[in-house]
């Protein structure tokens, strides 16, 4: 967190309790560099060597890793079903990262029966059902097709489920919201393969099935498959990581994560949805009246402030940058507002370019914290006009048994001693 010295900027106040126009950073930056120049010119004798290596450092490496000092930046809240190690989830430590691309090794995981070990030399994808020509594709064959690269978020539909609970969980931002990650995905448009197989133009559905031990499967609308679905082979420039579906996964931009079936082995074009376990008994959204919503595909507009957030103590009053992530499965983030007074007044945050559809979008705002207790919130709006609801509104609408598709406004409280907590406010 970038704490800076006290600055008096009444003319740049953007909302209550110290939220400033973000241009404050630009103006102050210019002042600081001028001051720095003066100090440098005033320096005379060399007091000590500048920091630097005393001699040659480590050699080259064939696959680099993070700095050893960053060893605490790890996936978090790793939980698996009783008696299993691979039937659960791990989460991205959102509060320890910046920008919008999640390092592949920190991308969240959600597996239904562990990560399979698949030899790409023998793996194949079968396309059959309502097609003229049932076909199989080897990974080598898929690698020869023309590809597209797209930056998108992937979010588990159960992300933030703990926020449906009666009391706010004492978790970090990543432990609450870290079942979302952002990557560049590269692969073959599914449409090209379906057309090669001669898909029946009247077919409305397909079934996608993985080669994991659960043979995880979901029904996918053909309309989505023909629109922007990919068979992804690469993530962030390298082949998929095993835990993200190596050697080939389905990728459905904006849709709930489990539909982007990993370790894809089969696509069956069908007249009806197959009604698999995961689209009937699992990823359906139980409402307060006992009815359940089925096929709730796009992930709704959502945001969270990653800095400051729980676990990141604010070291004292002063000027801070508030930084966070916003995303929407329905389109592009068009606006993020920030409040430092619990939602009484709001100021627009700056959106960091590029702002891409169905992708994590970084937002930033300037906050001059006066050292008194405060409640920070962020509220995102997307290109369809949808805005995040307050938590009580979301629960009044859907109840608290839903488990999935939680997208309410997140509130963090800041205490006078700089501790940040998850609160319902």
């Amino acid at each position: 967190m970038g704490k800076r010295s006290d600055v008096s900027v009444p003319d740049l106040e953007a909302a209550g309790n110290g939220l400033l126009d973000r241009r404050i950073f630009l103006k102050q930056g210019a002042l600081l560099s001028a001051g720095g120049l003066v100090a440098a010119a005033g320096g005379a004798a060399r007091a000590a060597d500048p920091p630097g290596a005393p001699g040659p450092g480590a050699g080259m490496s064939d696959y680099g890793g993070p700095a050893p000092y960053e060893s605490k930046v790890k996936r978090t809240l790793i939980r698996s079903q009783a008696g299993t190690t691979g039937s659960g989830a791990s989460r991205t430590p959102l509060e320890m990262l910046e920008g919008t691309l999640t390092p592949s090794g920190l991308h969240f995981e959600r597996h239904h029966s562990g990560v399979p070990d698949i030899d790409p030399a023998t793996h194949r994808v079968l396309i059959h059902g309502m097609v003229k020509r049932p076909l199989t594709f080897t990974v080598d064959a898929l690698s020869r097709y023309p590809m597209v690269s797209r930056v998108h978020f992937l979010e588990c539909s159960g992300n933030s489920a703990s926020m449906y609970g009666a009391a706010p969980p004492a978790f970090t931002c990543g432990q609450i919201h870290g079942l979302v990650s952002g990557s560049e995905w590269t692969g073959v448009p599914l449409r090209m393969l379906l057309e090669e197989a001669g898909i029946d133009p009247r077919a409305p559905w397909l079934l996608a099935e993985g080669a994991d031990a659960a043979a995880m499967s979901r029904s996918i609308p053909v309309a989505k498959a023909m629109d922007d679905a990919l068979l992804a082979l690469y993530q962030n420039g390298e082949r998929l990581r095993p835990e993200n579906g190596y050697p080939v996964r389905l990728f459905l931009p904006g849709y709930e994560g489990n539909m982007s079936v990993k370790w894809l082995r089969r696509i069956k074009v069908t007249a009806t949805p197959t009604m698999t376990k995961d689209e009937t008994s699992r990823y359906t959204d139980l409402q307060a009246d006992g009815k359940a919503l089925m096929f709730t595909y796009p992930m709704d507009v959502k945001s969270a402030i990653t800095r400051p957030s729980p676990g990141l103590r604010m070291p004292g009053a002063g000027l801070y940058e508030v930084s966070g992530l916003a995303w929407s499965g329905a389109g592009t983030v068009s606006r993020v507002e920030i409040s430092a007074d619990g939602g009484r007044t709001w100021a627009d945050a700056a959106l960091s370019a590029p702002v891409l559809p169905r992708a994590l979008t970084r937002f930033r705002a300037a906050w001059k914290w006066n050292g008194a207790p405060a409640v920070l919130k962020s509220r995102a709006t997307d290109s369809t006009g949808a805005t995040q609801p307050e938590r009580d509104k979301l629960i009044a609408l859907h109840g608290s048994n839903v488990i999935f598709h939680y997208n309410a406004i997140q509130a963090w409280s800041v205490s006078a001693d700089g501790e940040v907590k998850n609160v319902y406010a």
Partner: protein, 178 residues
């Protein structure tokens, strides 16, 4: 250019664009799949039961299979612990602690067969015979009070089982409601 000619040119351009988008030339590297290959891979069972294999089972046999293969994770008579509860929970879906089981929640009996066959037992999936899967399915449906102990589950009878919670799902994706 007169307006009519302009419209005609624009329409032709649009049609050409559509045609180009619809028939993208790919490298055509898919290999024909044989009927035998497809039959071996095609394990998914939709609600109409298409693809259900020959064989049959009853709750009595299913109880034996369950005790040996399922009970360690799912408890005595599907009561749950250490893993998912499979039985009961009727009338709890509107409570503060809904219990979502096969009996209280699952909308299709075919899904039980499909899921048990593809994914269970968790440590050794796809090791049960089709007859054993029918039997375990029958046992779980019987424990939930949906079929009688002597009812035979097979490709004919299973799709006809009406699940208690079948009508309590609302489709959010519009194409599905057609």
């Amino acid at each position: 250019m007169c307006t009519r000619r302009l419209v005609a040119v624009l329409m032709a351009a649009a049609l050409a664009g559509c045609a180009a988008a619809r028939s993208v030339e790919g490298p055509n590297l898919g290999q024909p799949a044989t009927p035998a290959e497809i039959a071996a891979w095609d394990i998914s069972i939709p609600p109409d039961g298409a693809g259900l294999p020959p064989g049959s089972g009853t709750a009595a046999l299913g109880a034996v299979v369950y005790a040996e293969k399922c009970q360690a994770c799912h408890g005595d008579k599907g009561a749950g612990q250490p893993n998912d509860r499979l039985v009961g929970g009727h009338g709890t879906l509107t409570s503060a602690s809904p219990v979502r089981t096969i009996g209280s929640y699952w909308p299709y009996a075919t899904t039980v067969f499909d899921y048990v066959r593809r994914s269970m037992p968790y440590p050794t999936p796809r090791t049960l015979s089709d007859a054993d899967v029918y039997a375990v399915t029958a046992y779980l449906l019987h424990l939930n009070g949906i079929i009688a102990e002597t009812d035979v589950m097979n490709a004919e009878t299973l799709p006809r089982v009406k699940m208690p919670n079948r009508d309590n799902f609302t489709l959010a994706y519009p194409a599905a409601s057609r």
